[in-house]
Symmetry: C2
DNA sequence: CCGGTTACTGTAACCGGTTACATTATTCCA
DNA sequence: TGGAATAATGTAACCGGTTACAGTAACCGG
C-alpha cells in the first residue's frame, strides 16, 4: 500500500479512502491509483484491515463432522448466501465429546459470526459467546431458553407423527421399530416424540424392545437391526422408521440380506429425502427436509444479526411426506 | 492481552512469549498467567497475530460450486488433514466464466496456501500466484507446464479405457454413447481419450453422433440423452458411458422412461462410484475414484509446500473398475 | 466581499499482537 | 573469584491497514 501511495504521489490515507470509497478522491488521482494498483497487483492485506476495522468479513461454520450426505446441501445453502454478501466461510469441525477443554478453533477472534450445527459446541461455550453479544445462529439445535440464540431447524415431530400414522392407518402396521438418532441432536428427540404420539393416538402400546439405535448412520443401523432380527425369531415387527435416510440404507440392506421383503413383510420409512432415497430398492418413503434452505436461512439470519437487525428466535421449516414404495404405496 | 499482562504484573512481551513458548518464563509467572487467562477468557486475536507473524494458519479451498455429490467426500478428506495441522479452512466458490476481472476472494492476503479445484481459476491468476512463490495445490487439474504446480488427481484414461473395453469385449457392445464432461475439467478430456483409444484398439469406428453432452450433471445428461433418443428412431446404440455418476442418474432416468431396458438393450457405465451408484436400478457399473483420498493428499501436499518440503508434481491416484449390473455383469 | 460549506488531502495515532535488542540477576566453570 | 553463558523480563519498533483531526483551496449564497 505504501508502494502504491508513493508511486501515485499521495498518502496512504488517500489510497485507503479510494479503496473503501470512504471519502471523495479527485478523478485524476483515482485514475492513477486504479492504474498503479493494477500494475503492482496490489491486494489489501486482510489481517491488517481486520485489525483496524475490527471486522473480519468471515463467518464461521462449526460442524461435528463432514461425512454425512446431509452436509453437502447444507453447505451449498450457506455458501450461496455467504458469497452474495461477499463474505468468506471458515469451516471447522469439533465434536462435543472432545472433553479436552481447548478453546474453539473459530470464534470472535477470527470471524464476525458463527453458524453452529447441533452437537458441535458445549452449552457453556455457547453461553459465553452469547454473553459477549457475538452473533450466533444455531442449526438443528435450540439454545437453552435463558440464552435466546436464534435457531433454524425443520419440523420433525409433526412429520414423523404423520408418517408413522400413515404406516398405521394406510398400511395397517402396528409393530413399528423406531431407530434413535444421536442423543446430542434434537432431531432425534422430536422424531421420537412424533413416533410415540402417533402410537399413543392410535392406541398402540409402546414396546421398548422396538426402540433400536440408529445414530443416523447406515453402519450402526445395519448392525442394530441385524442383531434385532437375530434375537427375534420369528420376526415380530412389520415396519421400521429408520430415523434418517442414511440409517435407512443400513436397514434396507439388513432386511434384504435376511430375505425380508420390503414393503410386503416390513415397511420402511426414513427422514431427510437425501438424494439417495429415491434410488433405494424399493424407493424410500421419507420426509423431505429442505436442508439447503436451512443453510440459506441460517446464513441470512446470521447476517441480519451481524447487521443488527432483529431475527426470529426459532425458524421451523416445513417438511413434507414423500410416499414411495418402501411403505407400500405406489406399488404399481 | 494488555489486561492479562497488567493483571499478572508483567509486560505483554512475557505474555506473548508464554503463549507461544518462544522463550522461558518463570514457573510462578506461568501459573499466574494460566490462571488469569482462564479467568479473563482471553483468546489471542488472530488478525493481530497474522499481521505480526505473516502467517494466517488458514488454508483456502477454491471450488466452482458446491452442489455436486463429489464435493462431500473431497471436503471430508481435506478437512481431516487441515484439522490435524490445527489450521482452519476457508472455503470460497468462484467460476471461471466469471469474466469480470475481480480478484480472488482468497489468496495470499488471507491464507497460507490454496487448494484449487479444476476450473475455478484462470491460468494467469494461477501464474501470478505461482510467480509469487505462493503455495498452491491443484485438484483434478494440471497446471500449464511452465508453472510446475503440484496437482492431485485420479487415473482417468486407463480406467475409462478398461471399462469401455469391458463393454466391448465382455458384453459385445459396439455403439457406445459417450457423454462429455465440462470442458474446463481435465477429467473430461482424459476420459474421452480413454474412450477413443478403447474404440480404436478394438477397430470400432468413431461415430461423432454418439458423443453427447453430459457436463457431469444429471439434468443435462437426461436432456441430452432424451433428445438423442428422440432423434434416433429406432435406437442405434447399445451402451452409454455417462462421464460420471451424477450424469448416470439422468441417463438411467431417460432410458427407463423410454422403456429401454438396462442392461439388456443398453448397458450403462459411470465414473466416481459415488454413494448413489450402488443403489441405482440397476446398480451402476462404474469406476471407483478415491475422492476423499484425493482431498487428503492434496491437503498433505499443500502443508509440505508450506513447510518448504518437496512435493511430487503430479499425484495420480489409482482407480478401480466396479462391475455391477448396469453393464450386464452380476446378473444373478 | 465575507462567513460557511464542500472537496480533497496529509499527519499520526491506533488496532493487538510479535520480536530484536537491551538489561539485570543468576549460575557455571576455569 | 572473575568472566561468560543463561534465565527472565522489559522497551519499543513493526506488521499493514483505517480514521479522527486538521488544514488548504475552491465554491456558494447573501
Amino acid at each position: 500500500m505504501r508502494d502504491v501511495a508513493r508511486e501515485v504521489g499521495v498518502s496512504v490515507a488517500t489510497v485507503s479512502r479510494y479503496i473503501n470509497g470512504s471519502a471523495p478522491v479527485s478523478p485524476e488521482v483515482a485514475e492513477r491509483l486504479e492504474q498503479i494498483m493494477a500494475e503492482l497487483k496490489y491486494v489489501p492485506h486482510s489481517a491488517a484491515r481486520q485489525l483496524a476495522t475490527r471486522k473480519t468479513m468471515v463467518v464461521g461454520l462449526l460442524l461435528t463432522n463432514m461425512y454425512n450426505d446431509f452436509f453437502g446441501p447444507l453447505l451449498y445453502g450457506i455458501e450461496s448466501v455467504v458469497g452474495e454478501h461477499r463474505y468468506n466461510l471458515l469451516v471447522a469441525t469439533c465434536r462435543l465429546d472432545n472433553q479436552t477443554n481447548i478453546s474453539l478453533p473459530i470464534g470472535p477472534h477470527n470471524t464476525d459470526g458463527l453458524l453452529i450445527f447441533a452437537g458441535s459446541i458445549k452449552d457453556d461455550d455457547l453461553a459465553e459467546l452469547s454473553s459477549q453479544g457475538f452473533p450466533v445462529v444455531l442449526i438443528h439445535h435450540t439454545a437453552p431458553e435463558s440464552l435466546s440464540i436464534p435457531c433454524v431447524t425443520v419440523e420433525n415431530k409433526a412429520a414423523t407423527y404423520k408418517l408413522v400414522s400413515h404406516l398405521i392407518e394406510d398400511h395397517d402396521r402396528r409393530q413399528i421399530v423406531f431407530m434413535k438418532g444421536p442423543s446430542q441432536q434434537e432431531d432425534s428427540y422430536w422424531r421420537k416424540l412424533g413416533y410415540l404420539n402417533a402410537l399413543r393416538d392410535h392406541d398402540i402400546e409402546i414396546n421398548p424392545k422396538l426402540m433400536l439405535t440408529g445414530e443416523f448412520l447406515h453402519g450402526v443401523a445395519y448392525r442394530s437391526l441385524k442383531d434385532f432380527i437375530d434375537r427375534s425369531d420369528p420376526i415380530d415387527f412389520d415396519a421400521v422408521f429408520t430415523g434418517d435416510d442414511d440409517a435407512a440404507i443400513g436397514v434396507v440392506e439388513a432386511l434384504t440380506e435376511c430375505g425380508i421383503r420390503i414393503p410386503e413383510d416390513v415397511a420402511v420409512a426414513g427422514f431427510d429425502d437425501s438424494r439417495l432415497s429415491a434410488f433405494l430398492n424399493p424407493p424410500l418413503t421419507t420426509v423431505r427436509a429442505p436442508t439447503a434452505e436451512v443453510g440459506r436461512i441460517a446464513a441470512k439470519n446470521l447476517f441480519n444479526l451481524i447487521e443488527g437487525h432483529p431475527v426470529d428466535d426459532v425458524t421451523l421449516l416445513p417438511t413434507e411426506i414423500i410416499l414411495r414404495r418402501s411403505c407400500g404405496c405406489n406399488s404399481g
